[in-house]
Every structure is written in structure tokens, then in C-alpha cells.
Symmetry: C2
Subunit: 273 residues, 2 copies
DNA sequence: CTAATAGTGTCTATTAGACAGTATGTT
DNA sequence: AACATACTGTCTAATAGACACTATTAG
């Protein structure tokens, strides 16, 4: 059939010419927490955590997953992700960026579902309300052994863990294929979403100011260094760290006194020019 | 209704509980071309080009677009992109990476369509067959004027151009919102796909070996420098360039003699250890 | 010889890593 | 005093930018 105009074509278009599918938006939300110290001199250690929700319906009933939900056909992808975030965390206006779209044909046992995942960051201290009752923060521990990456997640009660095999996709770039080798307790392909988020954050912390989305308004350079260390999963040297970070922060007049040692100056994020 | 098991739940699941939608995979394929020189001494200049297809059906009949097509519900996203690429370029086993998923609600006039875009790179000289008759390579010229980016595309006959306004999304990272200000001749939101591809390539050329996916097996350092210059859209200093590239390439015994000047050594890509 | 590109050497300024050393609080 | 963290200074090695200089070819 020949159409004379775009309008005529659209009026006759068969919207079911191709088989349709469902989409979801899933959000890996990260934050940092304090592990209380028992030594009055020692600083509380930082840990890096992800928000998980316990599923109370099939499929994957009683497993944990990152917050997510089906795409409302009248919402933009990111709007949909923000709506879900608001529902799960009572928080809006937080940092969010698109991470990756997962489209393996069997990633959902119900039917074909493509998931666009997002990375979100918050400063947990700014959370005025508690997260939903079926949601909880899990501390993250990443252990790399050659090609295998083991991730342990703990909220103090449940201990989840998964292992992913990373194989180099091509020799010209830094891309990897992820394959879930072992996974207890996490629904869908969410180990992939979480690890992708961790790696994105690890990369971006080196060349952007993304870390300040997880920091409270005032912080010490020691705290900031701890956050870098826990995300990069390695120790940094203090003088080098202070040099590198110097252009991104500015001193305030306030100090933090927190134990048997010299007080530290509180800094705030200095936006770039 | 309460289910006793995952199997029972799945057997009763209503696959149309949420309104479904269509997806496409769209591919921005880049390569480099030679612009023939008329001076026997001068080297041929390189240009950076993108493969476009002229649409012969509604919607956007007679407009150009990047190769793309609806997602086959039985194919993985990337497999679908590769299938389309094979159809449009007769080429397989080329470099491809996921770029971004565009999900604005009105991006397709027919209905709600979410598009996952891919970046692909080829060495045009290795193209054994011609691309499809309704496809053609367009040289890219990018002009940045403050917040505005103007892109001119030319295949020697058609001159397409679009302008995009880039506004910083947040102060902590390097992310921008893209808004199409002016667009003649390009279908859908493909100006966004093309500019996203250009920017991804521009970033990755600096810290990966991605450029070698566009190079022939043997090349001179002058040619390689030209490719960097045309993608980064700025001139580089030869000694610094040679120093930086030295670890990525290795000399061969062959030389290129191409005009009234000293012959140059041919190099090949040296894979990283 | 000339024009054009290929390729090397070197000076300088900046930056990253390592680590020594000083400062200041609580118990 | 002892300890823990805050903060500064400095040496060195590696790197990036700028540019002068030499090499080699066709016409």
C-alpha cells in the first residue's frame, strides 16, 4: 500500500507489526556508611553500601534485588527510574545516570523483558525518612582474584554473595563480558547491575567530582579519603590525596573534634568554574 | 491469588499486565576516509565519516538515518544490532559497543519506541563489498560555538546538518543534556545518536586503543596522527604524539613511499600485554 | 634547490609517588 | 607521656608541551 503523506501513513500504521515486549528500569543506589569504632581514638571506618529490596512476590520471591519496576508507557525512562526511587527511598532530586541496558532473552523467567539500569548516589545522612520497610542497606565487599570477582553484601543479618567472571571482550579497550558464576539470594541478573554500578563509580571517581554526591555538606579530608579508599578498594597516600583533591574543595571555619587526636578542618565541595 | 511455587506462578502469569512497547537497535557506524589531494607533495587528508541510510518508507520517508531496526523478540539486543549491521554493511565481526538507550515518549511518531543505540567502528578499506545501495558514507564536520554544536554531514551530493544545544546536567560530572535545536534531513532523534557516538569516540580515543578498530593492518604514524586529529578536532604536535603512541604500535620492515618527501615506516597495532 | 613529510633530541614545567617530619587533640 | 590522626615539606622520577633540528624523497 502506498501512502501519500506521513499523516496518512501514521493513521493506518499497525502498531503490532512487530511483537512487543516489556521493559523495566532498575536502579543501583549506592551510599557510604560509618562502621562504629570501639576504640575512642580510632576513627569510625567507612563502608560502601547498596540499597536492596526484598521481593515479596513471585518470581524470585524472598530474594533481594535492586529497586526497579516496569516501564510506564507514558513516562520517559529516567522519569520512570526516578518514580521508583521516590517510592523506595522517599527521596528525590538525587544523582542518577543511565548505566547499561540488559537485554539477554532469558533474563526474566516470565517473558522477554529488557532492563535499562541506572546508577544513583545519595548522602545517606540527608535521608530524612527511613527507606521502605522491605528495603535495607548492604555493605559491599569486593574481592578480586584474577578473572573472578566475588562480591559480599551484608546488612548485619543477611549475608548475600555472588561471583562474576570477567573476561576481556576485545584487546583494544577496557571492556569486559560479565558472567554470573555463583549467586545466592539475588533476583534476576541483578549481580550484573550491581557490579556494573560499582565499576562505573570506580572509574568516574578518578576523573570527575561524582563522589561529592555521596558526601554530606561538610566533611573532613580524612573522611573523603576513606570514601575514595573504600570505593577504589585500595589505600591512598595522604599527601598525594590532599594535593589532588585540593582544587575541588574549600576550607570552612568549622572543625571536627572526634577523639584522641588533632581536630580536623571541615571542608565543603567547591564547584568547578 | 496465592501461588505455592515459582512454577505455579509462572504458569498463571499474565504477560500483558503492563502495556508493552516496541524497541529498536540503532547503530552509529564510524570510519575514516581519504580526501584525495591535488598536490603531488601533499598527503591526502583524512576525514571522519558516518554511515547513513536513506529511508524509503514512512515515517520520515526520504530522510537519512543511522542503520537500525525493530528488536526481534528472540534476539539479544547486541545480536539484533549485529544482524542489522550485517544487512546494511555486509560486514561481521566488527567493533561494536552499547552507547545509550533513548526513551523519550515522543521520539517515534508511530508509537512508543525505546531505542538502544550502539557505536560501531570499521576500517573502510577492509570492506570487501560495497554497502547497500541506499546507504552512504557522510564526512563529519563538528563546529562548537559555546553551548551549541553544529554538525555538518556530506556525502558529496547531499549536505545534511543539525545543531544541538549542550547544557551541563550537573556540576559534579561531565554529563550534558542534548537538545536538538535545528535538524534538516535526519530522521527520528538520530542527531542525538550521532553526536553521542562522536563524543564517546572522542573520549575513548584518549584512554583506550579503540582507534585501531578504524585503521588498516598497516599504517604510518602520520596517518594515525591524522585520524586522532580529525576525531579530536584539533592539531597535535608530532613528537608528543609519537611518544604517546609508541607503546601501542610496532615497526614493520615495510615503508610507504607516497610523494615528494621522506618515505615513512609502516607500523602495526601492538596488542597490550 | 625546494617543498613537504618523517623522525630525533632537548629544554622546561608540571605532576605523581614516597616518605620524613611537625602539630594537636584526648586519655 | 602515648597514641592517633591532621597536616606540611621535600626529594625524585616520570610525563607533557614546545620547538629546534636533521633526514629523505620527487620533481
Amino acid at each position: 500500500m502506498e501512502y501519500k503523506s506521513e499523516e496518512e501513513f501514521l493513521a493506518h500504521y499497525d502498531k503490532n507489526a512487530y511483537e512487543k515486549l516489556s521493559m523495566t528500569t532498575d536502579i543501583a543506589i549506592f551510599s557510604v556508611s560509618d562502621k562504629k569504632s570501639n576504640n575512642y581514638r580510632k576513627l569510625s571506618e567507612k563502608s560502601f553500601s547498596v540499597l536492596l529490596v526484598k521481593r515479596n512476590t513471585y518470581p524470585f520471591k524472598d530474594k533481594w534485588c535492586v529497586p526497579g519496576g516496569f516501564l510506564d508507557i507514558n513516562l520517559d525512562l529516567e522519569e520512570n527510574a526516578r518514580k521508583i526511587l521516590l517510592k523506595e527511598t522517599n527521596l528525590k532530586d538525587i544523582y542518577i545516570e543511565q548505566l547499561y541496558t540488559f537485554g539477554a532473552i532469558d533474563r526474566d523467567p516470565r517473558m522477554r523483558v529488557v532492563a535499562t539500569s541506572y546508577l544513583a548516589l545519595i548522602d545517606k545522612e540527608r535521608l530524612n525518612q527511613q527507606v521502605c520497610p522491605n528495603a535495607d542497606w548492604f555493605d559491599i565487599e569486593v574481592i578480586e582474584q584474577g578473572e573472578l570477582v566475588k562480591v559480599n553484601l551484608s546488612n548485619g543479618v543477611d549475608n548475600l554473595s555472588f561471583t562474576i567472571k570477567k573476561t576481556l571482550r576485545d584487546l583494544t579497550t577496557d571492556r569486559y563480558d560479565f558472567k554470573v558464576i555463583e549467586n545466592n539470594c539475588l533476583a534476576f541478573d541483578h549481580p550484573l547491575v550491581i557490579l556494573s554500578g560499582i565499576e562505573r563509580l570506580k572509574n568516574k571517581i578518578e576523573y570527575t567530582d561524582i563522589v561529592f554526591n555521596m558526601m554530606p555538606p561538610l566533611f573532613t579530608l580524612g573522611e573523603l579519603k576513606q570514601v575514595y579508599e573504600v570505593i577504589l578498594n585500595k589505600k591512598l597516600l595522604a599527601p598525594a590525596f590532599r594535593r589532588i583533591i585540593a582544587s575541588k574543595v574549600e576550607k570552612t571555619n568549622e572543625m571536627r573534634i572526634d577523639g584522641g587526636h588533632r581536630p580536623s578542618v571541615l571542608y565543603r565541595y567547591k564547584k568547578r568554574d
